[in-house]
């Protein structure tokens, strides 16, 4: 073997390498700096995310695989990675004040978010079941730790432990599925698996493997019937962690699901399509109905995220370029809306304590009108009321489903979103029409108000100039779907 062949091309993986190396440097800085390194490390992490985003964007139109076919980049991975980096940086920014106030002031927090982000980027770039698993584990392990980060709080520890045990179970399912697929196709690379499947007819064992893999991935995106952990973990985890959990990891897992389905199993599309349709309908319906009875706003957001994942899966079920484009637009808008809503939740404080029940929001419009206005706009957008961004998110996936002839799915989706509108509107009714509850304390921390304003403005004015997002998502989707 020639020596030149021994060294793989590092070019495609430079953003990941820089991010991982930077996270380790920040870790060292935090360990060796004696006085309160948290704020420095957090700002450093945000700068690191921005540098990585530039490196990702700077790859231009680079397409290819490296590391013996384990790692791949194309316009699709770049779009998703930029979205993940956006979600992760917003989560770090939102955590700045919270971790100081709540006695979780430890510099490992932003470092773990950075390492989780490396894992997510590896997931998105995975071209083989082995690299998929490694990325997924890196991401999950870091998130288990930050879910339990508030270690003196029983609920946070419970959230971390629950997420860890169930996550380990889903990893087991994933590995079992991968081993079945390997056994029946003799390959782990997505492309080789696809070739092996189209060469001869599919076997029952292969379908079993596919089902196990889909079950594990559905767990990661908290789609019904693998959603049970979501409300407890979202409620127990520290609020900035919940904000992070509801954003970037879902984007990564859904992007990975699409990569696996469209690259490794295109030949058995009818088989996985019915699974996706079922999971999508179940998530939309459960997300809409179960949220109605919730009083804790974080639990409400957990059910809301289950529902939103159901809507996004409608686009996956369509199985076309338009469908994938719709999913990517949906995820982008969802990440931004979600960041805004969690800024509002983080600002709910009274007597030096975070409060989480939605009744505490009563009459907010009288004490903090601007805050109330942005919160209501975000709620309208989550409900999918035109002309806010959330409407367009749903619009594109439903259009794709109709074009693919999935009329029942589109109809159920619209009905579910009408039912779901009820609990979003209930929050708005509390804010504007109920007797005021005691006032929240203090002005909102500056970084939260900046994120909330940007998110609110994006949500309100997306319809004026949606072209860049649409074009980017279409370019990315065309790279994924053959």
């Amino acid at each position: 073997m020639e020596n030149a062949n021994l060294i793989p091309a590092f070019g495609p993986a430079i953003p990941e390498i820089v991010l991982a190396g930077g996270a380790m440097l920040l870790l060292m800085y935090g360990v060796f700096r004696k006085v309160s390194p948290t704020a420095h490390v957090a700002y450093g992490t945000v700068i690191l995310f921005i540098i990585t985003a530039f490196l990702v964007a700077g790859q231009g139109t680079l397409t290819g695989t490296t590391f013996s076919g384990l790692f791949t980049v194309d316009p699709y991975t770049r779009f998703v990675k930029l979205l993940i980096l956006l979600g992760a940086s917003v989560a770090v920014i939102m955590s700045l004040t919270f971790i100081r106030r709540e006695g979780m002031d430890r510099f490992e927090f932003p470092v773990l978010i950075a390492l989780a982000t490396v894992g997510m980027m590896m997931m998105v770039s995975a071209a083989s079941f082995m690299s998929l698993y490694m990325g997924l584990e890196l991401q999950s392990l870091a998130i288990y730790v930050i879910a339990a980060f508030h270690r003196d709080n029983a609920k946070s520890s419970e959230a971390g432990l629950k997420y860890f045990v169930l996550g380990a179970l889903s990893s087991g399912l994933l590995l079992y599925g991968c081993s079945l697929v390997y056994g029946y196709t003799g390959a782990l690379d997505f492309v080789k698996v696809a070739a092996a499947i189209s060469a001869d007819h599919q076997t029952l064992g292969l379908i079993f493997g596919l089902v196990f893999i889909l079950a594990a991935l559905a767990f990661k995106i908290s789609a019904v019937p693998f959603h049970m952990w979501t409300p407890d973990v979202y409620e127990g985890a520290p609020t900035p962690v919940t904000a992070f959990l509801a954003g970037a990891p879902k984007v990564a897992a859904l992007a990975l699901t699409m990569r696996v389905l469209f690259t490794a199993f295109p030949a058995i599309a009818p088989e996985w399509n019915q699974i996706i349709v079922f999971v999508s309908i179940a998530s939309m319906v459960l997300g809409s109905f179960a949220a109605i009875g919730q009083n804790n706003i974080k639990r409400l957001m957990a059910y809301s995220s289950i529902g939103h994942m159901g809507f996004a899966l409608v686009g996956v079920a369509a199985g076309s370029v338009e469908g994938v484009q719709g999913v990517l637009i949906y995820l982008s808008i969802y990440v931004i809306m979600n960041a805004g809503v969690f800024c509002c939740i983080l600002a709910m404080r009274r007597n030096g304590q975070q409060i989480e029940t939605i009744n505490d929001l009563a009459g907010l419009s009288r004490s903090q009108p601007l805050f109330a206005f942005f919160f209501s706009m975000l709620m309208f957008s989550l409900a999918g009321i035109p002309p806010l961004a959330g409407f367009f998110a749903k619009f594109y996936v439903f259009i794709a489903a109709v074009q693919a002839g999935l009329y029942p799915l589109a109809v159920i989706g619209v009905v579910a979103s009408v039912v779901g509108a009820f609990y979003y509107l209930r929050v708005i009714k509390l804010i504007y029409f109920d007797e005021p509850a005691p006032v929240f304390e203090g002005p909102m921390p500056r970084e939260l108000s900046v994120v909330l304003t940007l998110s609110g403005l994006f949500t309100m004015f997306f319809f004026i100039y949606p072209a860049p997002l649409l074009a980017g998502a279409q370019f990315a989707a065309a790279a994924l779907v053959p």
């Binding site: 073997m1 021994l6 793989p8 993986a13 991982a20 380790m24 870790l27 590391f67 013996s68 384990l70 790692f71 430890r106 490992e108 470092v111 773990l112 390492l115 490396v118 894992g119 590896m122 082995m130 690299s131 490694m134 990325g135 584990e137 890196l138 392990l141 870091a142 288990y144 730790v145 339990a148 980060f149 270690r151 971390g160």
Partner: protein, 205 residues
């Protein structure tokens, strides 16, 4: 060839005898020493099969680290092993049954090996061709550090996260703990450490 055969039987016999002594020895420290002897003989068997890398790893990792750790644990723990072992005889029937099942399963595996000649070829396929003249160490290195280098690095990151996680979730800084500060020790004055007492004869302090 006869030398190889003799060596094999010697090493194998000693390994089995030492393995038996691990569970039969009265003194737990002796058990661990017999365990080390077993490891050494297993390593010798690997060398006979031409797997020199695994043999050396076995000696370095198991004998060098794990067995010595066992030895320390056994010596540190204050457990009455003799008492623990007293009821051993009543477990003998269950143990014998388990052993029998294992032997039967081994026989089945061996039988399938003989019946399907493809199995040997399939199991041997990842080995590089003999003509390439690649040593074991190099072949393993090519797989782990070249072909799957990406996964190797990713595992490193996962272990790093596990380490950070364990520290973050469990380490508590205790302010009341006493630490050695050498500068303070050196900087101590005689006046701080010594006190004169005028002791009256016959009275004491």
């Amino acid at each position: 060839m006869i030398v190889t055969a003799i060596a094999f039987y010697v090493f194998a016999a000693i390994a089995i005898a030492a393995g038996f002594m691990v569970i039969a020895a009265r003194n737990p420290v002796h058990s661990v020493l017999f365990l080390i002897l077993t490891f050494f003989n297993a390593a010798a068997l690997f060398i006979l099969m031409g797997a020199e890398f695994i043999a050396l790893i076995l000696v370095i990792v198991y004998v060098g680290a794990v067995a010595v750790l066992f030895l320390f644990v056994v010596m540190m723990l204050d457990i009455d092993f003799v008492q623990l072992r007293q009821g051993a005889l009543q477990y003998l029937p269950v143990g014998a049954l388990l052993g029998l099942v294992l032997v039967l399963e081994l026989a089945l595996v061996g039988a399938s090996w003989v019946i399907t000649p493809d199995a040997v070829a399939a199991a041997a396929s990842p080995v590089p061709a003999a003509a390439d003249n690649i040593t074991n160490t190099r072949a393993l290195g090519q797989v782990i550090y070249t072909q799957y280098m990406y996964l190797f690095q990713a595992s490193g990151l996962i272990l790093l996260v596990a380490m950070i996680g364990a520290i973050v979730l469990t380490l508590r800084h205790r302010p009341d703990i006493k630490r050695q500060v050498i500068a303070h020790q050196i900087g101590r004055k005689r006046s701080e450490g010594v006190e004169y007492k005028d002791v009256k004869p016959g009275q004491g302090l």
